[in-house]
């Protein structure tokens, strides 16, 4: 069977397709990058162990199920500090120092607010904004309905837009 997950080539392509998304998924939830990477390793190790039982087209949902189960007992109420990188500082010329400072301030407060979001909202928000995932894809990863995703996204945006008023 060409699609046998136990085949090195197939397994490797599954890894390269999903590992980063999975890592990000966990990171948005926990804020712990090292732990996220470890859990991704664990999930794939499990997939390998059970490669005979998992059809290729079910691999992604199998992997995400493992990830979700890992977090069932974790503390969901901790504040989380996330570190992101800033992509290209284009269009900075022509902007006044005061404006740039305001932007910086706004970003910092926004980061804090994202970290303070309840885990479920934060995860949806970041999967949408950082990983550019559509609601349908997020719904699949989380094992919930699209409507449920939209509700969480709405709540996240409602909370975050309060930051704007402050600046």
């Amino acid at each position: 069977m060409a699609d046998d997950v136990c085949k090195e080539k197939v397994f490797k392509s599954i890894f390269y397709n999903y590992a980063e998304g999975m890592r990000n998924f966990l990171y948005y939830q926990s804020g712990n990058l090292a732990q996220a990477e470890d859990l991704v390793q664990e999930a794939f190790a499990k997939l390998w162990e059970n490669c005979k039982k998992v059809p290729h087209e079910k691999a992604k949902s199998y992997l995400y199920t493992i990830l979700r189960n890992k977090f069932l007992n974790e503390k969901a109420h901790e504040k989380v500090i996330l570190k992101f990188e800033q992509r290209g500082h284009s269009e900075r010329d022509g902007l006044t120092p005061e404006y740039l400072l305001e932007m910086e301030e706004f970003r910092n407060q926004l980061m804090q607010a994202i970290g303070n979001l309840p885990e479920k909202q934060r995860q949806v928000f970041l999967m949408s904004r950082m990983d550019k995932k559509k609601y349908a894809e997020i719904a699949e990863a989380l094992g919930i309905s699209v409507k449920a995703v939209e509700k969480r996204m709405h709540k996240a945006l409602a909370a975050l837009k309060k930051v704007h008023k402050k600046v």
């Binding site: 490797k12 890894f15 390269y16 590992a19 980063e20 890592r23 990000n24 990171y27 990477e37 991704v40 390793q41 794939f44 190790a45 390998w48 500090i81 570190k83 992101f84 990188e85 800033q86 992509r87 290209g88 932007m103 706004f106 970003r107 926004l110 994202i114 949408s128 904004r129 950082m130 559509k134 609601y135 409507k147 995703v149 939209e150 509700k151 969480r152 996204m153 709405h154 709540k155 945006l157 409602a158 975050l160 837009k161 930051v163 704007h164 008023k165």
Partner: protein
């Protein structure tokens, strides 16, 4: 069919009715939402090194055959003379090479063929040849371990910074960065690091750095009286700078020391939580003003 509880989400996915859109713009919410999206669009996570991660996965798959497992060690605490360690380990022999690793939050213990014993501290590992143990007793150490050596042929502990040779004794070796610290509780140990060499007797300790002897002191605290397996770092009359260094290593944070305070510290900090640990150290002296900045992983000491 107003679904107000998904309004902003649908705005983002372009799923609003014209009326809803007009309302958002009029109320000024549109501006605020737009600002969030613009700000977050600029952010990204560090790219994941997939080649590296896949290689690691493959490596761990191969290793799962030769498993070295050890059970946590329980100490009987507080009895001065005749303190016994009950330690048990359970392992599968591979081809004679043995590597034992203590993960985080567990101390690993092992008993060698000749009855000598070792306890590893968090994140440490040792490697040794089990097969020719009757001819040679050499242990390579990364991190920190406590040894009890049965009399016999020379027993040598090698770390990056130097080696410790003993004939039959109890001692603790801690190796990290370019430092090596050895504490002897019983018997004698010979420590060699770079061009420096020293012989330690009971309750003597030496600190080496960069191949030089930095400090010797006498110790009042026998580490073999460790209690339990919860990760804790204990200090007796240790220079405060060292305590902070250990804290930095344990939690992988940076320490910025803006003070010239230098005094001996006696006490401990736990490994379970960084804020608790910082408090445990900083309340030791009133003049210590500590500020832990979580999102930078930085501790500032004034």
């Amino acid at each position: 069919m107003e679904e107000r509880d998904t309004l902003y989400a649908r705005w983002l996915s372009g799923d609003l009715s014209p009326a809803e859109m007009a309302e958002l713009k009029a109320s000024g919410e549109w501006e605020a939402l737009q600002a969030i999206i613009e700000a977050t669009d600029q952010l990204e996570l560090p790219a994941m090194d997939l080649d590296d991660a896949f290689a690691k996965l493959k490596k761990n798959q191969g290793r799962s055959q030769a498993n070295v497992r050890s059970l946590p060690v329980r100490w009987l605490a507080g009895i001065a003379a005749g303190l016994l360690m009950i330690l048990f380990s359970w392992y599968l022999l591979s081809s004679g090479n043995q590597t034992i690793q203590a993960g985080l939050a567990a101390n690993a213990g092992h008993q060698f063929k000749d009855g000598s014993k070792v306890i590893l501290n968090d994140g440490s590992s040792i490697a040794f040849q089990d097969q020719n143990w009757e001819e040679e007793r050499i242990v390579k150490l990364t991190g920190e371990a406590y040894f009890e050596v049965e009399p016999g042929i020379p027993f040598s502990v090698q770390s990056r910074q130097g080696r410790v040779e003993v004939l039959g004794t109890r001692f603790n070796v801690r190796s990290w960065g370019d430092r090596l610290q050895v504490e002897c509780y019983e018997g004698q140990v010979q420590v060699v690091s770079g061009n420096a060499s020293i012989r330690l007797g009971p309750f003597e300790s030496a600190l080496f750095g960069q191949g030089q002897l930095l400090d010797t002191l006498s110790i009042e605290h026998d580490r073999s009286l460790w209690e339990g397996t919860e990760g804790v770092s204990r200090f007796r009359n240790a220079p405060i700078a060292e305590v902070f260094q250990e804290l930095g290593r344990q939690f992988d944070i940076d320490i910025q020391i803006n003070t010239t305070l230098d005094f001996p510290f006696s006490g401990q900090f736990v490994h379970r939580n960084v804020e608790t640990a910082v408090n445990q150290i900083c309340r030791y002296k009133q003049e210590l003003d500590c500020q832990y900045i979580a999102d930078q992983g930085l501790l500032v000491v004034k």
